[in-house]
Amino acid sequence: MSVVIETMPPVPTQPWRNSKAQGMRNFLAIVLALICGGVINRVTGLSGFLGLFVGTAFLFPVFVAFANINRGANVVVDRIASAVIAVAFIAVTIPWLSIFITVFRKGSEAFHSSYLTDDMRITPSGDDLQYGGIAHAIVGTMLMVLVATVISVPFGIIAAIYIVEVKGRFASLIRFLVQAMSGVPSIVAGLFVYSTVVTFFGGFSAWAGAIALSILMLPTVARTSEEVLKLVSVDLRTSSSALGATQARTVFTIVIPTVASGLITAAVLGVARVVGETAPLILTSSYFVATSRNLNEPIASLPIYIFSSLGLGDQNATARAWGGAMVLLGLVFFLFLLTRLFSSRIKRK
């Protein structure tokens, strides 16, 4: 006698996920919060988009809590926390998106086909927007940031190596000085370079601007590199020493290649720190309307281009300033993208 058992193929389920009904209740909580937020928006002083957001933001966690009230205290607390975090995330995203959208909307007004290749040599700032461009400022910013990077990235990494790897007698002093340096206001760095380099060589120059930027860049690079180098495990250094490597060989053959992408990130953070600096450049590189590659002369830069255009008060000049802001944002974005690609390629190898 045999018992015939009908075997059903197992159905894949995810019992740990929310049930459909629960998902519906959560969705309802969002909708209700939005509706109530809208009502508050209408009848009280909380007007406009931000008013709607504030009203909804405070109601959303409450409604979500009610939607889960039958699931026990732990779940309710968890849902409330999740809702608060979601609201906080949106709250941080709004200003960020707002800046981005505003800059690109207003900046694109000044944009035309040869905007990136023309300069302001023969164009007054108040002239029609199809004339002139921003090439001089892009070239100036790139040149000065490049020189500043060449100065401060090696010094920053060397300082980090001294602190983390060599652990020399002055390691804690250097760390303290680097930390103190990162608090130096940018205008003070500019004044310092003005009173030394500019007065010594008798005039504004791209060199002076680059040096001012490198002073601001150095602490960022050094501190980030320090954190990155600390990530390398002691085991790797010990193994390297056990293979008869000197400390210098260990650092350059094992430690630095291991964290190469992190060090590139440190350099990028340094660039991002200084690319938009205005105050120190006013006092060092000044401004120049034509495209120039001469580092001994004053040179244009994007922040100063924005600053000086805004100062004119002319409608077209203001539009040019927005254009400059857009290009500056785009440049930073492009640099970040480039280094991401570069460091991921290193990692893959």
């Binding site: 056990a242 293979l243 008869g244 490597a245 290649p257 291991t258």
Partner: protein, 298 residues
């Protein structure tokens, strides 16, 4: 000897007290050379030797009066419970001990007849000739398998005429060649734990060391990988002196020619007994050794 004491103050203040502190009567090992008068030239033929070696970490006396002789082309197992100073002793043998801040030592470590702690000796050179493999396999992450094998050459700026042949030779000796010969370009981290450990052994072999120190090389490995590493150890012992720290009694019995049993009674770790492995496991002369190898403590 003053030059070798990293912190002479520590040594001076501690040293008189240690002789008083030693409560375990020191078993003179049979293996350990009674013939300390033997000419140094003879010693150079006969592997590695320690004479009355002590180790300190700051004020903590970690290891007391270890005298051992490791004959050329043999495997010696260092056994004993955790914290008895086996790893410390191992690190003393290729001058890795001094990487620990405030560490100190006393005694002599004779290699090729010379004290490796003599002021004129270059520790870099010692570490090239006395290789070491650690408990946790750690291939260099920025290098692929082939580069990992020859990393030691790159690190010590040694040029080789035929890198590929050397990579193959070292991987073969480490028992890994067949498994990785088609993927020398992939990352060392992509290997399994056991393969990584054999890669680390191959990496140590590339410098052609005369002595290989292994610090619990199998403690992170599964039984199959452990077996492979043990086979590798036995094969390598034909051409080099191997000293292996292990917590695994079966492993010590399987791979080693000699065994040294370390023990700490709360004070510094000491050598209880050193002998042929067969003697240690069949009729040890100290009851504590018998208790330990039969698993009654530790």
């Amino acid at each position: 000897m003053e030059n070798n004491q990293i912190d002479s103050k520590v040594s001076e203040t501690i040293r008189p007290t240690i002789t008083a502190k030693v409560e375990i009567p020191l078993q003179r090992s049979k293996l350990h050379t009674e013939d300390l008068q033997v000419d140094k030239m003879v010693k150079s033929e006969s592997g590695l030797e320690t004479r009355n070696v002590h180790a300190w970490f700051d004020k903590h006396h970690a290891l007391a009066d270890i005298s051992l002789h490791f004959p050329k082309n043999t495997v010696t197992g260092l056994i004993g419970p955790s914290g008895c100073g086996k790893s410390t002793f191992l690190r003393l043998l290729n001058r890795m001990h001094e990487f620990i801040p405030r560490a100190a030592m006393a005694g002599e470590v004779l290699y090729a007849g010379n004290d490796i702690y003599d002021p004129g000796v270059n520790p870099i050179d010692i570490r090239r000739r006395i290789g070491m493999v650690f408990q946790k396999p750690n291939p260099f992450p920025a290098m692929n398998i082939g580069e990992n094998v020859v990393a030691g050459l790159k690190l010590s700026r040694v040029k080789t005429s035929n890198k590929e042949a050397l990579i193959e030779e070292c991987l073969t000796r480490a028992g890994l060649w067949k498994e990785v010969k088609d993927r020398l370009g992939s990352a060392g981290g992509s290997l399994s734990g056991g393969q990584q450990q054999r890669l680390c052994i191959a990496r140590a072999l590339a410098l052609n060391p005369e002595v290989l120190l292994l610090d619990e090389p199998c403690s992170a490995l599964d039984p199959g990988s452990t077996l492979r590493v043990e086979e590798t150890i036995v094969q390598l012992s034909a051409t080099m002196t191997i000293i292996v720290v292990t917590h695994n009694m079966q492993q010590a019995a399987r791979v080693s020619d000699y065994c040294a049993f370390f023990l700490s009674d709360g004070g510094p770790g000491q050598l209880v007994e050193a002998d042929l492995t067969t003697n240690i496991f069949s009729h040890p002369s100290d009851t504590r050794t018998a208790d330990y190898v039969q698993g009654r403590f530790g």
